[in-house]
């Protein structure tokens, strides 16, 4: 298999090779999202980050599951895989193992990633492969029209939980930290600059990068429009110390953004080299 290459930054490339604009990373397809949906802004920040990093679109692959957020690949000019609900990280793991030369991005929603996809989330963190995972967290299942997700507050009322779920919200960053992810950040769809920076840092980080992005669902959680006032832009600084990170994650009211944890941890990067021929292997069968 092809060997992994370092991600090249746009500023290290010869001028003529530099991609012109974030729009070069956009496809012609118009998003099906509701007007005002936070996911539009995530798409924007992502293309900006990609332009900044400057890898050609054909060397990128964006893998997703199912959900409003998971519609992302069709809007990018990169390769994409829009798979089944909750399994994007597994598809990405297979792809990255087969093709370490590619920049493999994964995206999805809080339902896709933390509910049905929870097990792959745990194990992707643990494997710490060089993947970047963007979770567009709107604390709701948008696509299926408004059910509570693991990150919904216990007292949020919905059809499915008329009195709220009564269950504490899932703590994605805390779990990612305990499970072994090496880059853990929170961003906000409404903070284009900050988010662009976080995404490009996440992609450049070697290892599994989790970026938990607060991205309002204007249709089923209109009250999330208030996030625009509440979120703080990149007010957190990275630490490579697990306990400090745990403390920062624990102490945050959920409105802080920035990199909460970044460390050099061993990366699962299965090496293999053709050193034998098939004929030699077949000889083993012979009596």
């Amino acid at each position: 298999m092809k060997k992994a290459q370092a991600v090249e930054r746009i500023d290290q490339m010869p001028v003529e090779a530099r991609p012109a604009r974030p729009n070069d990373y956009l496809s012609d397809n118009h998003p099906v999202w509701c007007p005002g949906c936070g996911h539009f802004f995530v798409l924007r920040a992502l293309t900006k980050a990609l332009a900044w990093l400057g890898r050609p679109a054909e060397e990128l692959a964006m893998i997703t599951g199912i959900g409003c957020s998971s519609r992302l690949p069709a809007y990018l000019a990169s390769y994409g895989f829009h798979g089944v609900h909750g399994r994007a990280l597994a598809v990405a793991t297979g792809l990255k193992a087969a093709r370490p030369d590619l920049t493999v991005l994964v995206a999805g929603g809080d339902g896709d990633g933390y509910s049905i996809g929870g097990n792959h989330f745990l194990h992707a963190c643990r494997r710490n492969m060089d993947l970047t995972y963007l979770v567009m967290d709107n604390e709701v299942y948008g696509m299926t029209k408004g059910q509570p997700s693991p990150t919904s507050a216990p007292d949020w009322h919905s059809k499915l939980a008329p009195h709220g779920t009564g269950i504490n919200a899932f703590n994605p960053m805390g779990v990612a930290l305990a499970a072994g992810a090496s880059f853990i950040a929170r961003g906000f769809a409404g903070d284009p600059k900050g988010l662009t920076k976080l995404i490009s840092d996440g992609i450049e980080h070697k290892g599994f990068s989790v970026i938990e992005i607060k991205s309002p669902c204007v249709t089923f959680r209109p009250e999330q429009k208030a996030w625009q006032k509440q979120m703080r832009s990149l007010n957190v600084s990275p630490t490579p110390n697990k306990l400090e990170a745990a403390q920062a994650i624990h102490a945050s009211d959920g409105f802080d953004t920035g990199i909460f944890y970044q460390a050099d941890l061993p990366i699962f990067d299965p090496q293999s080299e053709a050193t034998t021929t098939l004929d030699e292997l077949e000889q083993e069968l012979v009596l």
């Binding site: 000019a77 390769y79 089944v84 299965p270 090496q271 080299e273 050193t275 098939l278």
Partner: protein, 596 residues
């Protein structure tokens, strides 16, 4: 069908031997069996070894059964010629599988329990031997090696064969260990007389190179031959061996094994790898297969190649995990939701599992879809000394690869991943290829891959996915047909029931008159069913569909495809005990008598 061969003559009784060995956990019954099999191989013979485990994980009793001959043999023993009981611990657990008769010779230790009633009642000749007593004189010696000596002597096995087998099997434990075993074996040989006439008298050693392998190893090698580069799996009995065999080997040919957190991950990892451009597979069994069906549908809809090997065990649910059954056919044919055409193949015996797996991976790559290869615990975990069966020309229908897209530059028409085409196939791009970017999708889509719920797109893409499978020419490999002259009856079977049927038909035909002889068909390509050819072939026959499950799943499937003549019938019974040639021969007798 090139694969049409006359039915071979049955193996004469004087050219076959059945040996079994049982003992408590740790007594080493299995090791004796493995060395014995290897020794028969080294002596130029053939053999089949199956194991049986008690309910214990590892500490419990176990048994091995060997069927040995100077001719290819892949069936289970029917009547034990010689049984070695290292002890009588829970012997009754294997009673179903160790058929004792008045002709059985049994050796056991004289210092412990006596043979249980069911043994003495069988009329078998029981010979107590001072095994433990003898061991006292061999420091570190083990009872199983003593038993091996006893068996070697009674079977009249050549010294050099035993010696080579000891070297090969125990060599990695070091010279001293081999030396100790050799000494113990010799002590065992001294405990019994050589038989007056060697049971191997008249046996012709083969001059051919032969294989010694299990069906699971065969699968692994077949996949490697097919260009496998990624295997992702979650352990499950009886499929784990495949991936364990691949683990140290795949990395040496530039590929790798991913240990998945569960089967959901495994199947999706395969899809990710294949999307990235490499041939990829997983291996599982019924319960794991169930968990994979959602992602299998994704492989079908997104037209991503994927090979799933399923090694069937007793069902339903967790069922009987260590034993064989052919009861997951419905699942592999119909387990996906929506109209989800895919390919299902099943090898008919251990040795052909090599090329059939290679073929299966090639079909997945070429047809850009899900291919399921169904084997079972018996095929997968039995060990055989057999003739290599690799078709001379794997390049035609079997050396199959993916139709890859070309890079595109500005000005080229846009790349359409799911472009409609005459044969239903479209060139597949892969990440890295400039200008041919696309998004693979499990949502219904247009030719470019954009989600669509239009009736026209749905019809088109459904037809495309069906057509690429039905239009493809699978050549002659869809079945093996062994016709008998003027046969009225045709036995139709699949998978691990094939060898037992073959032996039964051979015996039956050898003694039956013309007209009462029986033809045999082993179905290898189950989906898409080659109904036309099958109907053609079945025409004029009364067909009996033989399979090891409770409900006749293959029979009903063939009925659903209207592939069977009117008078066809089902001969099905559940596992976990396999069909024996004798059982089937009795059935054939009644069948052909009744027919007149």
């Amino acid at each position: 069908m090139t694969d049409t061969r006359p039915i071979p003559a049955p193996i004469p009784d004087s050219h076959r031997l059945s040996v079994s060995i049982s003992g408590a956990g740790g007594a080493g019954a299995v090791t004796v069996g493995l060395i014995l099999l290897e020794a028969f191989g080294k002596a130029g013979f053939y053999g089949a070894l199956t194991r049986s485990f008690g309910p214990q994980i590892r500490g419990g009793e176990s048994a091995v059964f060997l069927n040995l001959s100077d001719q290819p043999i892949e069936t289970l023993p029917e009547a034990t010629d010689i049984h070695l009981a290292l002890d009588w611990k829970n012997f009754e657990r294997f009673a179903d599988e160790i058929p004792l008769t008045a002709n059985t010779e049994i050796f056991y230790d004289d210092s412990r329990e006596k043979p249980p009633a069911l043994v003495t009642e069988s009329g078998a000749e029981c010979t107590p031997l001072p095994l433990l007593n003898t061991l006292k004189e061999i420091k570190g010696g083990r009872i199983n090696m003593l038993g091996l000596g006893v068996l070697a002597k009674r079977l009249g096995l050549a010294e050099h064969a035993i010696e080579q087998a000891l070297q090969k099997t125990l060599g990695r434990k070091g010279d001293e260990a081999v030396q100790l075993s050799r000494q113990t074996v010799e002590a065992g040989q001294a405990l019994v007389e050589a038989p007056k006439t060697s049971p191997l008298k008249g046996w012709q050693p083969s001059e051919q190179a032969r294989w010694h392998l299990s069906g699971n190893e065969a699968c692994a090698i077949g996949a490697l031959r097919g260009g496998l580069k990624l295997a992702a799996a979650y352990p499950i009995t009886p499929a784990t061996d495949i991936v364990e065999y691949l683990a140290p080997r795949l990395e040496k040919v530039g590929g790798q094994v991913l240990i998945a957190e569960d089967e959901l991950a495994a199947m999706n990892m395969v899809i990710g790898g294949a999307f990235g451009g490499v041939p990829a597979m997983t291996a599982t069994s019924g319960p794991g297969f169930a968990l994979m069906t959602e992602a299998m549908g994704l492989a079908v809809a997104s037209e991503t190649p994927a090979l799933v090997v399923t090694v069937m065990r007793g069902g339903p649910s967790t069922g009987i995990p260590t034993k064989s059954e052919q009861a997951d056919l419905n699942q592999v044919l119909y387990g996906l939701h929506g109209d989800a055409p895919h390919v299902v193949v099943a090898p008919l015996n251990v040795s052909e599992s090599v090329w059939v797996t290679q073929w299966a991976l090639g079909l997945a790559e070429h047809l850009q879809t899900l291919v399921v290869l169904a084997t079972d615990q018996h095929l997968g975990q039995s060990r055989m000394i057999c003739d290599p069966t690799l078709p001379e020309d794997m390049s035609q229908t079997r050396g199959l690869t993916r139709l890859r897209a070309e890079p595109r530059t500005t000005g080229d028409p846009a790349y359409q991943r799911y472009a409609l085409s005459a044969d239903g196939l479209s060139p597949m791009s892969e990440p890295g290829l400039p200008g041919a970017q696309y998004t693979a999708d499990g949502l219904e889509h247009t030719e470019t891959g954009l989600p669509s719920s239009s009736a026209q797109d749905h019809r088109d893409q459904l037809a495309k996915r069906a057509q690429k499978l039905t239009e493809f020419d699978y050549g002659d490999d869809w079945a093996t047909y062994l016709p008998a002259d003027k046969a009225k009856h045709l036995i139709l079977t699949w998978g691990s029931s094939f060898e037992a049927c073959k032996e039964a038909v051979a015996r039956h035909n050898a003694e039956a008159k013309k007209g009462k002889q029986v033809s045999l068909l082993g179905l290898r390509l189950l989906m898409p069913l080659q109904s036309k050819s099958l109907r053609q072939l079945c025409k004029g026959h009364q067909v009996t569909v033989v399979e090891q499950n409770a409900t006749g799943q293959l029979y009903h499937y063939l009925l659903s495809e209207q592939a069977l003549p009117k008078s066809s019938q089902s001969f099905a019974r559940p596992g976990p005990i396999l069909f024996t040639p004798g059982e089937l021969q009795t059935y054939l007798r009644s069948l052909t008598e009744e027919a007149t």
